[in-house]
Structures are given as C-alpha cells and as structure tokens.
C-alpha cells in the first residue's frame, strides 16, 4: 500500500498526527497551529480523494478513515525511508521502533493510540511507592489549581501585547520624526516587559492559538465577535485567543476577537 500512494511530507505529517492523537483534529487549531503542519485545501482534497481521512466542516475537522488507518499501519512497518523527504528519516525511525514494541506486546496500533488497548501487565509496585506516587499526584493537582487565577491574568496580558504594539505603531506613525528617541525607548522598554511575560506564559503552557491579522475559521469556543460570523466562516483574527495545554487537552483561557472579512 505504501508504494501505491506517495504523499507529501505535510500529508504524511497529518496522517501521523491523526494516528498519534487517536482522535479527530481540527485543521486550523490543531494541525496548523499546534502541530505546525501547513495543511491547505489542496492537501485536504488529496487526502479525501485517496479516502485516507474523513472530514467534517465548521470547523474543518479530520479523522483517519479505515483506509487511513491501514495506510499508517503499513507505513509503520515500512523498511525504507521515503525518498527525497528531508526529516522523514527520523520520523520513520521512531514509528518503526514503536511498531516493533507494539508488535512484541501484541497490541493493535489503532487501539493503542485511541487509548483502548488492554493495559500491559505492570510489575507490582510496593505500597510505599504507590503512596508516594499518590502524594505526588495530589501535590501536582494542588499546584495546578493554585496557578489557575494567575494564569488567567497572564493570558489576558499576553493577549494584549499585540494591542499595545498596534497603539504604539500608531503613535510612531504620527511622531514628529521617524526616529523619535522617546518612542524608541518606549518600544524597547515594553519589549523587556513583554519578553518576560512571554517566557512566564510559555512555562505555564500558555500560548496564542492564532496570529493577529491572519485568517482562521470562526469557532465561538475560541473567539468573541462583534459582527456574528457563521460557524466555520473564515474570519480575520483581531485579538489572538490564548490557550493552555493541560491534562492532554486544550483549554481556552482568554477568547480572541474575530472580525468578519469584508465581502
């Protein structure tokens, strides 16, 4: 099967990402933003034409079809590396290694990634070790909860950085001289503050999901809008949503602002 369908690195990446998560993924928020896979309408059409993915609209969300699962399973067993595809060698090495482990355990890759594979018997752990582990988990929950309010404030601040840049750019545009020293200092001072803000956010797994000014499909979970776009309609991001990855899921901490594109 691998020789029958030769895919681009992006298309291969999409299929492996769908395999690895074992769940449907949104084209914009997950595949493009989170996994940095530059999936376009051309890739979407090709993967659908080959019958490798199933796609739902509003927003575009993809999952592996039966054929798609058979393709990734075949690729896991592929002995060679696809020709002319930089960086695919490492990926091929990882999935090949994974395939050998799952094969030794008699575990189906589909069940493994969907999280429905029977648990592999683990060596018994002592009661003390179990207690320490429970205590560590308890502490972890406590720390996460204690950070909750601070993270919201961090997210709002991170979201407002582009607004500050925009207002400052406006001031620079109307400045007396293009190299107004005072304004230059304002920009540098703000950069010093914002850089640390961005680092603090990254350490708490907070990140913006879309860049301001870019196009994105409208989803009311991610965006507020002042002009009521339809679900899935392509809008312009005015303020980026800030999301947090936590417990394997993505939570919107600060909704972005979307604006309809002029027709």
């Amino acid at each position: 099967m691998t020789t029958e369908i030769e895919l681009t690195p992006t298309e291969r990446g999409v299929l492996f990402a769908l395999m690895a998560t074992g769940a449907p993924l949104r084209e914009a928020a997950d595949l493009r933003q989170r996994y940095r896979l530059g999936m376009t309408a051309i890739h979407r059409r090709r993967l659908n034409q080959f019958g490798l993915i199933k796609t739902q609209k509003s927003p575009f969300t993809h999952s592996l079809s039966e054929l798609g699962w058979r393709w990734v399973e075949a690729e896991m067993r592929r002995p060679d590396v696809p020709k002319g595809q930089t960086g695919q060698g490492a990926l091929q090495a990882v999935i090949g290694g994974l395939e050998r482990i799952l094969s030794d355990q008699g575990t189906n890759p589909r069940a493994f990634f969907a999280g429905t594979a029977p648990a592999v018997p683990q060596p018994e752990i002592s009661e003390t070790a179990a207690r320490i582990s429970a205590s560590e988990r308890e502490q972890q929950h406590l720390e996460n909860a204690a950070w909750n309010d601070s993270e919201e404030a961090l997210a709002f601040a991170l979201q407002d950085v582009p607004s500050f840049d925009r207002v400052l750019a406006r001031a620079e545009a109307t400045a007396q001289t293009p190299t107004d020293r005072a304004l230059q200092q304002v920009r540098l001072a703000s950069k010093a503050v914002f850089q640390n803000l961005q680092i603090a956010c990254a350490k708490r797994h907070l990140h913006t999901a879309f860049d301001p000014g870019t196009d994105a499909p409208f989803d009311p979970v991610y965006f507020d809008s002042y002009d009521d776009p339809d679900d899935g309609e392509i809008i312009i991001v005015r303020k980026p949503p800030v999301v947090k990855s936590h417990s394997g899921k993505e939570f919107v901490v600060a909704k972005g602002v979307a604006e309809r594109k002029e027709v």
Partner: protein, 467 residues
C-alpha cells in the same frame, strides 16, 4: 452477567473519612476530610478531590452543567464547548442544579424541560440533576482512587440557605437524587466519563430498567448531622472550616459568593469544650453578591466607551467584558483602576467613580442591612451566654467576594455598641502556600466534610444588657 444495581448503594463505606459535595453555581467541588475532631485535624487530613482534572483549567472545579445534543448527553468540557457552539442557534445548557433546586417550584422537577434545553423532549429536571450527580460522583470515585483514598465514604451535600419548607423538601430530594445517582453509575459505568457523552438510547434504557433506590439506610449512605440531616448549609460549612473552637468566641460569618451572600453567627464553647454552635435565627441570605458588581463594572465600562447596554452595537463588547469580568473586578479593586480595550480603543474605570455609583451603593446598603440582622442575633447571644469578661464579636468574611471594599466597609462600620473586631478565616498554619491559595474556593466542600458540624443553640431571647 446480571447487573447488581445496588452494589455501590449497599457497599460498606469507610468511616475514616467524610466527603462533601458542593454544587456550585458555575462549578462543583468535592472534598474528603478525616473523621476526627476539628481541633485535631492537620492540613494533610484534608483532601480536596481533583474532580475537574481535564474538564476545567482548575483540577478541583467541575463545570456544573450538562448539554443535550440530538444524540447524547454531554458532560464537562465537552458540554461547555458544545453549548458555546450552539447557543447562537437557540440551544441552552442545563446549568447549575443548585439554582434549579433553589428557584423552581417542587412540582417543576418532574415536568419535561423546554426544547431549548432538551431537543428530545423526554427528560425531566430531576433526571438531569440525577445524571449530573452520577457524573460528579463517578469523577469523585476516580479522583479519590487517584490520590489513594478509599471510596465511597459517607456523604454530605452542601446547600444554600433555604426557607424551612424548601429546606425540608430539598433534603428529601437531594437524598433521593444521590441514591438514584449511585444506581445510574451502576447502569452507565465508565460511559459516564466518555468523551462523546452517553447516548440518549442508553440513558433512557438505564432509567427504564433502574429499580427504585430503596435499599441502603440513610445512616449508611450519609454522614448525618445531629439533627438528622445529610445536607449542610453553605454558611455553616464555611464556619466549620474557618473557625477554631479554642475558647468562647462569637463569630459572624459573611460568605460572599457569586450569586448569594450568606450570613450566619456562630458561637464556640467555653475553654475545654471544643464545639461550634450556630446561633439560632442568625442565618440570613441576600440573593445578590459578586455577580451584581460584575454587572455594574460591565455597565460602567460600556458607558465610558460611549455604548448603551441595550444597543446592538454593544452586544459584542458586552459579551467580551462578561468573559473577563472577574479579572476586571479584581484589577479595579486591587489597583484602583481598570483599563480595558473596547473596540479599537482603551477605556478606564476608576474605583472612586465605581463606588460612588448609586446602584453600587444600593447593593452595599442591602449588604449592610442583611449583615446587621446576623449581627443582632450575635449580640443577643453574647448577652445570653456570658463568658469570663465581655466576649468580643468577631467578623469573618469568606468566599470570592470577601475582599470587596463594601464587604470590608460593612464590617468596619457595623452598628453596635458591643466590642467587635475583624478576623481572617483560620486556615491551617502548617499548610503550604498552594493550599492557602486553593482553600478559599473549596472551603464549603471542606467545611461540609468535617465531622463536628455546628449544632443550633437554644432559642435566644432579648435580655437587657447588664450594666
């Protein structure tokens, strides 16, 4: 294999721990506390349950809602997001079981719900609350196991201050709902936690097949208080979790939440008698709290931006401000001014302007009046239960609104000639910073799970102040 519907209901329960469920308006919480005397408890004997792990940003907060699609009942994060995607299409989430029990007539509980909430037209509010409770208890079971605790312990359920009639009805209903919830867990099992929710077909089949929940004794299922109740009033739970009975003390507790402000006065025993009693007749509730201030912050910010709240142009900005209102209020009160971007410009609101607004002042006035009623009962008790010397009445503010300026003013400017002072909730001194940060939002669940709940004092009579 024949399903043992009563397995969880009749299961032997650990008596070492007590659990309390706090149905919050927006989020529900649960905690387990070692069944020891309050004064002997250490920080490590108190275990908030991470029932919200993976369902909300805080591991201890579980969204108090469920959403019905055409195919399934959804819970948690999935329900919240699906609701957001569907509310513009005329669909509503079934939110806040507590509010439902507080505001609807008893007979409404068994009526079919509006099609906005239930497009299938088959569910009653009672069934949805039982389903939510089953989901919550199932998550609590997982959370307890994850942190190494035996489940189930005996339960208590926190409730708002209700009228006597509603409290009696609510007690009976909540006990029945808990029993139903345990049966639903047997019937639905891990499907309750499935990402895609539970299909209506399956839920209906379980409701159809489910026997009447009448096996376990209430005494086995619940940790009953001295008056035989399984429910504990929220203000009482707060007092239990916040007052150390070290000597004779009289404490007026103001629990300022989002939707309600609960007041109550409590008295501790003489030295050597480590008990907390609720002063009879001191419990009062104002059905306004922090949410009212959120609304006024929003109104004044929109006004500063030149927008009228009922104007279509204000709909978007108003929704956006609503999403940030807790943060806006916090910034306003902590820094004296809040600045926010509305449309393409930044606008500010100053604290002085906010506090001098007539509608904000009206809320402060109602707060003062309700607090004064609880204080009057405390003064009566201080006169009737003498101690060595004149006991000082203590004021303690808890809940999300404890630090609001009008709450602090309310306590500072209380009208009484009795000696008073303001105190902080007494947290566990050996607790780390994280515990102290998280504790205030969980204090109802924690206090409600403590063994020594306050009993009511004898009726008070007005006696003249001894000169």
């Amino acid at each position: 294999m024949v399903l043992d519907w009563f397995r969880r209901l009749s299961q032997k329960r650990t008596t070492d721990w007590i659990a309390c469920i706090d149905f919050g308006t927006a989020y529900s919480k649960a905690a387990m506390v070692l069944a020891e005397n309050t004064t002997d408890l250490m920080a490590d004997d108190i275990k908030p349950l991470p029932i919200g792990d993976g369902e909300s940003r805080s591991d201890y907060l579980l969204p108090s809602l469920l959403f019905l699609t055409d195919e399934a009942v959804l819970f948690g994060k999935r329900a919240d997001e699906t609701a957001q995607r569907n509310e513009r299409h005329g669909r509503s989430v079934f939110a806040s079981p507590k509010q439902y029990l507080s505001t609807h007539a008893p007979e409404h509980l068994d009526e079919k719900l509006d099609s906005e909430i239930d497009p299938t037209g088959t569910y009653t509010a009672r069934q949805l609350i039982a389903l939510y409770l089953a989901y919550l208890l199932k998550r609590a079971e997982h959370a307890a196991e994850e942190i190494g605790l035996d489940w189930p312990p005996k339960l208590r359920i926190a409730r708002p201050a209700w009228s006597k009639e509603r409290a009696e009805w609510g007690e009976e209903i909540l006990r029945h709902l808990v029993r139903q919830a345990f049966l639903l867990i047997e019937g639905l099992g891990d499907d309750l936690l499935a990402e895609q929710g539970v299909s209506h077909e399956r839920v209906r089949a379980v409701f159809y097949e489910m026997p009447e929940p009448n096996l376990a004794d209430d005494d086995d299922l619940f940790h009953l208080a001295a008056d035989g109740t399984a429910t504990v009033m929220e203000a009482t739970a707060v007092a239990t979790g916040s007052i150390r009975p070290t000597r004779r003390r009289i404490v007026v507790v103001a629990d300022i939440g989002g939707g309600t402000s609960d007041f109550g006065a409590f008295m501790t025993g003489l030295p050597g008698h480590k008990v907390v009693s609720e002063i009879r007749g001191s419990s009062h509730v104002l059905r306004q709290a922090g949410d009212v201030l959120d609304m006024h912050v929003r109104r004044m910010m929109l006004s500063n931006a030149g927008l009228l709240q009922d104007d279509p142009a204000a709909r978007g900005p108003a929704a956006r401000l609503r999403g940030r209102q807790r943060n806006l209020k916090e910034r306003l009160f902590q820094t004296g001014e809040v600045v926010e971007e509305i449309g393409d410009h930044f606008f500010s609101l100053k604290l002085d302007d906010f506090l001098s607004d007539p509608r904000v002042q009206d809320f402060a006035k109602r707060l003062n009046e309700t607090f004064q009623q609880a204080l009057d009962s405390a003064v009566l008790a201080a006169r009737e239960f003498p101690s060595q010397g004149k006991v000082t009445i203590e004021f303690m503010a808890t809940g999300g609104g404890a630090s609001l300026p009008m709450v602090q003013d309310m306590m500072r400017q209380a009208k009484t000639d009795w000696p008073t002072k303001m105190v902080e909730p007494e947290l566990f001194q050996d607790a780390n910073e994280d515990v102290r940060t998280v504790y205030p939002q969980l204090v109802v669940a924690i206090g409600g799970a403590m063994k020594d709940l306050p009993k009511q004092t004898a009726p008070l009579t007005a006696v003249p102040l001894a000169s």
